[in-house]
């Protein structure tokens, strides 16, 4: 015979570790008490976590119950879990600019303009999904040619490459 406090704690510990929603049945199979009692305990737990000072609550989903964070704290969770994005270095920005305006372009062509090796930067830009390999150039060594991605347009709020500002636009912006 379990007291309500203990029943609640046991159910809570199970809900806490379970990666999937737990049904009343599954809980009953483990703690061997009446389904009605379990229902009551779960209602109590739900009530408790509805309180403002809790960051997560007990939701019923897919025929079971599962703890989930409250929607309003998503921004903090996002900040916590998302890998820190460093904004582009100056060198990376320059390289991206060259690719944007001169695409399609090979690595050695970029290097010719920038006057320095760009292997690492090009790899970083590919990883950040700002540029991508779109094929190989005919000719000796068949070098990879790069172009900007759809995400590049999305991030800069462009519909297509023709919307890239020309020098004229630039002046108007000032």
């Amino acid at each position: 015979m379990l007291f309500l406090e203990e029943t609640k704690a046991i159910i809570e510990s199970m809900l806490f570790v379970s990666p999937d929603p737990l049904s009343i049945e599954e809980i009953a199979n483990i703690i061997n008490i009446d389904a009605k009692e379990i229902c009551f305990a779960i209602e109590e737990i739900q009530k408790e976590y509805k309180k403002e000072y809790h960051g997560f609550h007990l939701i019923d989903v897919a025929g079971g119950f599962v703890f989930a964070t409250k929607v309003q704290y998503e921004q903090y969770i996002e900040k916590l879990l998302k890998p820190q994005i460093n904004t582009l270095s100056h060198a990376a920005l320059e390289t991206l600019a060259i690719i944007a305006y001169k695409q399609p372009i090979t690595r050695s062509e970029i290097e010719l303009i920038r006057g320095v090796k760009v292997d690492k930067i090009v790899n970083t830009l590919v990883e950040k999904n700002l540029i991508e390999e779109i094929g190989r150039k005919e000719g000796p060594g068949r070098p990879i040619i790069y172009a900007t991605t759809k995400d590049f347009l999305k991030y800069f709020g462009l519909n297509d490459l023709s919307q890239l500002p020309s020098m004229e636009n630039f002046k108007n912006q000032d």
């Binding site: 570790v17 500002p165 004229e168």
Partner: protein, 246 residues
């Protein structure tokens, strides 16, 4: 009791020191005054079934057996007449120190074992970090950068390029630097001035871009053209040097 002792397998010991400690405890011996002869005999009895062990661990057990035998021999030797102030060193001293040191860590391991057991009764939430992260839209890697920053970077790089000592590339494309110079000059003749950007419309082939660059550099070097820019970020105008004289 005695028979039980001999049923213990060598594999049950973590090493030669562990076995030795076991023998000392079994015999209820004072670790600071080990009866070496007795312990050595027991130790050697234990490692008789050494053939069952792999060579590596067997050799470790044998090294200690040799050490024990050496100590035993030393203790059997007649003691030399010693001078008054000379304190005789116990041949067991070093072994005892090693045993005590080892014993400490064996106990520490036991404590860790206890903590491990305790922690196995405690469960943390299993988080699939990757899955959690995937719930969010991919981050914008250029969050603080506007398209105009990009353009500015491009302009700067173009200007930087002007300062680079010209490297003459042998172009594989049809157009040569000389031809390009002619084209630029022709454009300047008819328009008097040109916007720098007009020379690089989007879609210009790479070789063409480079050749055009080199052509511009060549023209500057020959002092036939000049660049003019009213202010920071304003457009760059290319003009014929003759114009400048006006």
């Amino acid at each position: 009791m005695l028979q039980n002792k001999y049923q213990i397998k060598l594999e049950n010991f973590e090493g030669p020191l562990d076995l030795l400690l076991h023998l000392i405890e079994k015999n209820e011996i004072d670790i600071y005054d080990i009866p070496i002869a007795k312990i050595t005999d027991q130790y050697i009895t234990y490692i008789r079934d050494i053939e069952q062990l792999d060579l590596d661990s067997a050799s470790e057990f044998l090294v200690l057996a040799a050490t024990l035998l050496a100590i035993k021999a030393k203790m059997l030797l007649p003691k030399p007449i010693k001078l008054l102030e000379e304190v005789e060193k116990d041949p067991r001293e070093e072994l005892v120190a090693r045993l005590l040191e080892y014993k400490k860590f064996k106990e520490a391991a036991g404590l860790l074992k206890g903590r491990e057991n305790e922690m196995h009764k405690v469960f943390l939430r299993k988080q699939d970090e990757e899955q959690l992260v995937n719930k969010f839209d991919p981050s914008n890697p250029v969050e603080n950068i506007s398209i105009y920053d990009l353009l500015q970077a491009f302009r700067i790089i173009l200007e930087k390029t002007d300062n680079i000592e010209p490297v003459y590339e042998i172009s594989k494309e049809k157009i040569s630097i000389q031809q390009c110079i002619i084209i630029i000059l022709a454009k300047l003749e008819s328009n008097h001035k040109l916007l720098f950007t007009d020379l690089f419309p989007i879609g210009t082939s790479q070789t063409r871009v480079i050749v055009t660059f080199l052509a511009l550099l060549e023209l500057i070097k020959q002092n036939r053209i000049g660049f003019r820019q009213k202010g920071l970020f304003s457009r760059i105008v290319i003009y014929l040097k003759e114009d400048n004289l006006e």
